[in-house]
């Protein structure tokens, strides 16, 4: 299984629908400071159910909604869709693809969908742990946080291994 695409719309510095398609192997995202690279990292975390605004550098979750810029109106809603390619059949689902979509508007109303069908956060969490992604505690390393494994407590590392197990 691999992440085959991510589509951002109204999310952080991506006001208009932007889709990135990934293949297996090593994909490298480059660009100048402030161009939007880590916003893509945040989008993956967010679509897969991140509950803490701080983990995506916000103070409240609505901070992820495109807030406008020079000559560009702000958006009222953020939406991110992550598609996992299951063609190797790793996850016990009939679908060859798992599309997870998350939305949030300025009023704070949000929803999750799996393959287009509305669902709850717990359904997303469950399908992710089936794929081995866990709470992506250990498979997404945000900027500035790689050395945390070394500076964290022994029991945090144990939890990391437990989640992978």
């Amino acid at each position: 299984m691999h992440l085959s695409s991510i589509t951002l719309k109204g999310f952080k510095s991506f006001p208009d629908r932007t889709r990135l398609t990934f293949a297996p192997g090593v994909s490298v995202i480059v660009g100048p400071n402030g161009s939007g690279k880590s916003n893509i990292t945040d989008a993956v975390l967010w679509a897969l159910g991140e509950q803490s605004p701080v983990a995506v550098r916000g103070a409240s979750m609505q901070d992820v909604i495109f807030a406008g810029a020079h000559g560009v109106k702000s958006r009222s809603e953020a939406e991110v869709e992550v598609i996992l390619d299951n063609s190797s059949g790793r996850v016990d689902l009939p679908a060859g693809e798992i599309a997870i979509t998350r939305r949030l508007n300025r009023a704070g109303d949000g929803e999750y969908r799996i393959n287009g069908a509305k669902c709850r956060l717990t359904d997303v969490i469950e399908i992710l742990s089936d794929t081995g992604l866990g709470k992506e505690m250990h498979s997404v390393v945000s900027q500035g946080r790689v050395a945390e494994i070394v500076t964290s407590k022994p029991k945090d590392r144990r939890m990391l291994i437990e989640e992978a197990a």
Binding site: M1, H2, L3, K12, S13, F14, P15, D16, T18, L20, T21, F22, A23, P24, G25, V26, S27, V28, I29, V30, G31, P32, G34, S35, G36, K37, S38, N39, I40, T41, A69, H70, G71, V72, L84, R90, G132, L133, H138, S139, V140, V141, S142, Q143, G144, V146, A147, E148, I149, V150, T151, K153, P154, K155, R157, R158, I161, E162, A164, A165
Partner: protein, 186 residues
């Protein structure tokens, strides 16, 4: 659940020693299970006369609830003596964390990993060691790496250029790359 953990831990510990061999040539490392109440062991001056989690014949371990267990990392870069992890340099801490991450990956791969600027503290030699290991594992999991380092770009199968015109809107252009010249056998 406890067995899944112990099995994963044992595999990760074995992998950690091997990955450390690649990331810290000439160095060695180990992962140890410790019980929460065993206070900080005096690490200066080394000494393996203290086994934090006793061998299975001591029935204490059987009764240690899992949430009292922790994982201690021991690392000895080539030529140095084992000290507190906190005393390691910025680059050494990053390499140790990456070794741990890869060790867990080998025990239980996730379908994909997203690594955002993990090589910021690494010198060129260490970036190359990291990239060699990364390419070696890229047949087993997908790695999406965010970077502003040229060296890391050279390890890519596909490149995604993110830019922002003076208007606060991000734009992405992508292109596949021919296989990197050096296909490294892990």
């Amino acid at each position: 659940i406890k067995e899944a953990f112990e099995e994963t831990f044992d595999a990760a510990a074995k992998n950690f020693e091997e990955v450390v061999g690649h990331l810290f040539p000439g160095g060695r490392g180990a992962l140890r299970l410790v019980r929460e109440d065993s206070g900080p062991r005096p690490v200066l001056g080394g000494g393996d006369d203290e086994t934090p989690v006793p061998e299975p014949e001591e029935d204490e371990e059987e009764s240690t609830p899992e949430d009292k267990l922790g994982v201690e990392i021991e690392i000895t870069p080539a030529g140095k003596s084992t000290k507190r992890l906190t005393l390691l340099s910025g680059g050494e801490k990053t390499m140790t964390s990456l070794a741990f991450l890869f060790a867990v990956f080998l025990a239980r791969p996730s379908p994909f990993y997203i690594l955002d600027e993990v090589e910021a503290a690494l010198d060129d030699l260490n970036i190359d060691r990291f990239l060699q290991v990364l390419r070696g594992f890229s047949d087993r999991a997908q790695f999406i790496v965010v970077t502003h380092q040229k060296r890391t770009m050279e390890a890519a199968d596909a490149l995604y250029g993110v830019s922002m015109a003076g208007n606060g809107v991000s734009k992405v252009i992508s292109r596949k790359l021919p296989k990197p010249a050096e296909e490294v056998a892990a």
